[in-house]
């Protein structure tokens, strides 16, 4: 049996849940058994009615104890469901929170942890996965023993189609001492742009070379014209010109758009870690030796304050035509 932990927003399953189902089905084909699901937290009962179309059985963990997420609680719920299902493999989304509770779950199950995987499969008594390492610069293949916990990198896997109604089973999970040690005091909402950065087909990122917060109006205008999202480098966040939610890179967001504009961005490895899988990379930089040009498809050496306004005019012409 394979267990897939299905992320949701309280009403609907998230895309990551359906990517997880696809992975779980592929593993179940090789290892035998069926795919069970788990939904946890506020709204779980309602979501389970949708989740059951994808798996043979959905476990539901909900109630007053399960209103706020903590890694300790989610790991406990997943462990309980894995035991109830007799699952040898647990699949979960490799979101930030997913990656923290799956680490705890792997210890509980004494399992091999395959983290942030691009693909995964099983053969014999082993699971295999591909993933990036070395700040996204290396592609590696890993093999893990069973039992295993596999987290799925977002946007790597086709979304599963419904496969007929399974059953829904509430699962009572008692909180222990450990799960009471973290208390959530306050939520801080993200202050992001109009277009979600990680979903955008076009990302326009400005770096320190933009020179000021005001200069980002040009970036915003260009992004709006293309229906894209605004990104920023850490230097820009540290300067207070843009909110952290827009940071692209190792400690910010990972994006993989159709086209990525790096404007007055030097192209540090930590920045590249968040954008080097973009389909087409465009850079404008006044320094012809800037590292970003090695990672660029189309570039202009020049002053962004002269080149970007002209780019905006050209796109307007194109859209007008």
């Amino acid at each position: 049996m394979i267990l897939v932990v299905m992320d949701h927003d309280g009403n609907e399953l998230r895309k990551g849940a359906l990517e997880g189902v696809s992975r779980a089905r592929k593993l179940a084909e090789a290892l035998g058994g069926e795919v069970a699901g788990l939904v946890v937290g506020p709204g779980a009962e309602g979501v389970a009615e949708k989740a059951k179309d994808y798996v043979s059985k959905v476990y539901v963990v909900s109630g007053p104890d399960w209103e706020a997420y903590t890694a300790e609680k989610w790991a406990k719920a997943a462990h309980a469901a894995a035991e109830a299902a007799g699952a040898r493999v647990v699949v979960a989304p490799a979101s930030r929170t997913g990656r923290s509770w799956t680490a705890r779950l792997a210890v509980k199950m004494d399992a091999a942890l395959l983290e942030d995987t691009l693909d995964s499969w099983a053969e014999g008594d082993k699971v295999y996965a591909t993933k990036y390492s070395f700040l996204n610069r290396v592609l590696e293949k890993q093999a893990g023993t069973l039992p295993a916990v596999i987290s799925v990198k977002p946007n790597t896997t086709p979304l599963a189609e419904p496969a007929g109604a399974g059953t829904v089973e509430p699962l009572a999970v008692e909180l222990g001492e450990l799960e009471k040690k973290v208390e959530v005091l306050e939520k801080i909402a993200e202050t992001g742009g109009k277009v979600a950065l990680t979903e955008a087909e076009v990302v326009v990122t400005g770096g320190r070379g933009m020179g000021s917060a005001e200069a980002f109006q040009m970036i915003e205008q260009f992004a709006d014209l293309l229906g894209g999202a605004v990104g920023a480098t850490r230097a820009v966040i540290d300067a207070g010109w843009r909110p952290y939610a827009e940071q692209v890179g190792q400690t910010g967001k990972t994006v993989q758009p159709n086209v990525y504009f790096a404007l007055a961005v030097s192209g540090a490895v930590q920045h590249q870690a968040g954008m080097n899988k973009s389909k087409v990379v465009v850079a404008v930089n006044k320094d012809p030796d800037a590292p970003i040009f090695k990672e660029t498809d189309y570039g202009v050496v020049g002053d962004v304050h002269q080149v970007l306004p002209a780019m905006i005019e050209e796109v307007k012409k194109l859209k007008g035509a």
């Binding site: 923290s100 792997a106 390492s133 070395f134 005091l185 490895v269 570039g299």
Partner: protein, 252 residues
């Protein structure tokens, strides 16, 4: 109070990575204290400075990890414990060994890096906490001690939250937590004499790894590198760029 930073030695992001025979070859690479772990070391030194006590660095890794540990000692940590093991060992197995050392050390607060610059793993902090039965908080951007508890702000998938955590607990770092200091010359001199205790991982029950790395390859997409000189006629360069994006790349 006692504070521990779990650290690792990794290749500097600036140095080029080589692959020989399907394996990353670190020969010739500059190896440094992981920059995400630098925040952890800085944090325990600050805690010691503010509240007194001891700041200890602990690591699981090959012998060469001692160099990164000396850097942490030069920043101001008091002493180190290094669990030695060559080759890749998965975080769950590492957590078992680290938990044994931490049980012995009995710290109040533990920090470690939010993501490792070699394996790109985010698991170690939470895994060690689970092995100890302690709570963990990932991607911590602000931290303070409060009557036997910690109050921490940490990043979620979207947005952030403030939590109150019973100690002992493990926190993983995120940028913004602090500005790590540079080691000073006197600090470097003193670090040479500070104690580093080495323990063979096998003595802590480590035999092998649950995860094996089979094959590695450099993952660099071929980029076209069509670079236009726009220093003299920026408007013409911009026009050419947009034309290329529209007609050749077909992304606009």
């Amino acid at each position: 109070m006692k504070y521990v930073a779990i650290i690792r030695q990794v290749p500097d992001g600036e140095s080029k990575i080589k692959v020989d025979g399907g394996r990353v070859n670190l020969e010739g690479a500059t190896l440094i204290l992981d920059q995400m772990d630098e925040y952890a070391v800085e944090q325990i030194i600050r805690l010691k400075e503010a509240h007194g006590g001891e700041a200890v660095v602990v690591a699981f890794g090959p012998e060469r990890t001692e160099e990164a540990m000396r850097t942490a000692l030069a920043m101001g940590a008091d002493r180190g414990v290094l669990i030695t093991a060559e080759g890749y060992v998965d975080p769950v197995t590492q957590a078992g060994a680290l938990a044994k050392v931490l049980t012995e050390e009995a710290p109040d607060v533990v920090f470690t890096g939010g993501q490792q610059a070699d394996w790109d793993s985010q698991a170690l902090g939470a895994a060690v906490a689970e092995a100890l039965g302690w709570p963990s908080v990932t991607w911590t951007t602000a931290f303070e001690l409060e009557d036997g508890h910690a109050k921490a702000t940490h990043d979620l998938d979207e947005g952030a939250e403030v939590v109150r955590v019973a100690l002992p607990a493990i926190f993983t770092t995120q940028q913004g937590l602090n500005e790590p200091r540079y080691p000073t010359l006197p600090g470097i001199m003193k670090a040479k004499k500070k104690e580093i205790k080495k323990i063979d991982a096998a003595e802590l029950g480590v035999s092998g790894s649950k995860v094996e790395i089979l094959e590695q390859q450099i993952m660099e997409l071929e980029r076209k590198q069509k670079i236009i000189d726009g220093t003299k006629e920026p408007a013409a360069a911009a026009a050419e760029l947009i034309k290329l994006l529209h007609e050749e790349a077909k992304v606009l």
